[in-house]
């Protein structure tokens, strides 16, 4: 019993890392643009199909495919901000309306992408049989035996690599200075000469590029299917709120907690009920600490 809980804990931590890796981009996008990107999951899914195509057509491993897919998704993120969100922001400038249209546009985009892929690929579950997905890590300590795919370990580590990369860009570069300024006070950044809309586009691009990297790691052990995005998209929202909107360590911490609760919970109740646990955890969090565990009021 104790062994199985310990195993579940380790699997939960590994899966939680992957959750964190996926949620990071969403958190950064919200922290800078104040837009909840409901198309986040769909963009993750889109990236996994690009890796799938690269692998089946050209035999390119997703880990290598990152070099090709990430720049494409960066541009896709920038374009989303530039052509869909910024025009709405400009339209609403100087009005007192609530920007509900901003939420709806990313939601619509998400559905459009999911359905497009459903149309092209159907709802079959595909896998990418890479080398990493077939090589296993085994840890044996006395009677305790733990085995997992290397690709899951890499997905866990990816959270920290992506997190560090984003942290570095935001805190240690000139671009990051502008990103933080826009995040902390958009109007003040504009009067200092910062091109706010361009900064939004860059931040959106970075967030989507981050999810593309996470997508590569995910596709190394998870199936590729048009509905995958919805699943991970929803979880990412919960994780980001749990960890603190806009917070990079928060997204990773939130992901880990989420993965652990889900995995360990499944040891005691059915796994669908353990999903429910995570939602309950999320709702409790909203009551006791709405800004999340490591939140700084929604700023990066």
């Amino acid at each position: 019993m104790l062994d199985s809980v310990l195993l579940a804990l380790i699997y939960g931590i590994l899966q939680g890392g992957a959750y964190g890796a996926i949620a990071l981009g969403l958190s950064v996008i919200f922290g800078v643009t104040r837009v909840t990107n409901f198309a986040h999951g769909a963009m993750l899914m889109l990236s996994t199909f690009l890796y799938y195509e690269l692998f089946t057509r050209f035999g390119i491993d997703p880990y290598i495919g990152i070099l090709l897919v990430t720049p494409v998704l960066y541009l896709l993120g920038m374009a989303t901000q530039k052509f869909l969100i910024t025009p709405l922001l400009k339209k609403e400038r100087g009005t007192t309306q609530d920007p509900a249209s901003l939420l709806l546009i990313t939601l619509g985009l998400g559905y459009a992408i999911s359905n497009l892929f459903m149309m092209i690929y159907g709802s079959d579950y595909k896998t990418i049989p890479t080398a990493a997905s077939r090589s296993y890590l085994t840890v044996e300590i006395g009677d305790f035996l733990f085995t997992t795919q290397w690709s899951r370990v890499i997905a866990f580590l990816a959270a920290f690599i992506i997190g560090f990369a984003l942290w570095f860009i935001i805190n240690k570069t000139e671009l990051g200075k502008k990103i933080r300024a826009v995040s902390q006070n958009r109007d003040a950044a504009a009067i200092c000469g910062v091109d706010v809309y361009k900064t939004y586009a860059v931040a959106f691009g970075l967030g989507i590029a981050a999810v593309a990297v996470a997508g590569a790691c995910l596709s190394e052990y998870y199936f590729v299917q048009p509905q995958v995005g919805t699943l991970f998209g929803t979880k990412s929202f919960l994780i980001v709120v749990l960890g603190g909107l806009g917070s990079i360590p928060g997204a990773i911490l939130g992901g880990l907690i989420f993965g652990i609760v889900e995995s360990v919970g499944a040891q005691f109740i059915t796994s669908s009920a353990s999903s429910m646990l995570t939602f309950i955890l999320f709702m409790i969090m909203l009551f006791i600490r709405p800004s999340g565990l490591l939140g700084k009021g929604g700023k990066v």
Binding site: R93, G94, K177, Q184, N185, D187, I191, C192, G193, V194
Partner: protein
């Protein structure tokens, strides 16, 4: 230098500024005074491109800058010290100043300007590595002023700079404004502190319900009986 003609602006369908014309000449200090709700801040927001201009034109150094994006207006050489200062609270004082000179043109001079600001306001050098949000009100005002001056603007616009400052600091603030002008930057200032402001202003405008009801040399307005009654309580 700055020439605003018949400017109309507001929020949504509500018009707050009903056709205001105003000029700032080279090296002038121009004051805008008026009661709360007179449309002073709305006027500034429209001027800076933060809300759309419904009608009228804003010309700066012969170029039409009406309704440009705020950052483009900054590129033309106008910066604003906004009401309530609006610093980047979770960035250091130095980073706040850096953002003040972050366009390709202004960035070249960043280090030299920063040094200049530390000379003008020595307190900022001591506080350089501190988060702006942890500073006192007076220090925050210094950061806001320095940040706006980092880009070597031709025109500095100040919206209620004395807001929340102790009287001694207000005196220092007005000294800084005069220093800024003596170094060749024109100043457009909105202030509650009517007497002091008009005493240093070359020209003043009185706003009332979104219109200019009076204008004149600062010293003349100071002597105006109606204005004295309305704002100075004497």
């Amino acid at each position: 230098m700055l020439d605003v003609k018949e400017l109309r602006a507001g929020y949504g369908d509500i018009e707050i500024v009903h056709g205001i014309s105003l000029k700032v000449l080279d090296n002038q200090i121009v004051a805008i005074v008026g009661a709360n709700g007179a449309g002073k801040s709305t006027f500034i927001k429209a001027l800076m491109g933060m809300i759309p201009v419904k009608k009228g034109t804003v010309t700066f150094d012969g170029q039409d800058i009406t309704s440009l994006d705020t950052n483009k207006i900054c590129d033309h050489g106008i910066t604003l010290i906004p009401e309530g200062r609006q610093l980047f609270p979770q960035m250091t004082v130095e980073e706040n100043l850096d953002i003040g000179a972050c366009t390709p043109t202004t960035r070249k001079d960043r280090d030299r300007k920063k040094e200049e600001m530390f000379e003008l306001l020595p307190r900022l050098r001591e506080r350089a590595k501190q988060m702006a949000g942890t500073l006192s009100g007076g220090e925050q005002q210094m950061v806001a002023t320095a940040r706006a001056l980092m880009s070597s603007p031709k025109l500095l616009v100040m919206d209620e700079p004395s807001w929340g400052l102790a009287p001694i600091l207000v005196t220092e603030l007005f000294q800084t404004i005069e220093t800024v002008r003596s170094e060749g930057t024109a100043v457009l200032i909105i202030e509650q502190n009517v007497a002091t402001t008009l005493s240093i202003a070359d020209w003043g405008y009185v706003f009332e319900n979104g219109n200019v009801t009076m204008e004149g040399a600062g010293s003349e307005l100071l002597c105006d009986e109606g204005l004295k009654k309305a704002f100075l309580g004497i």
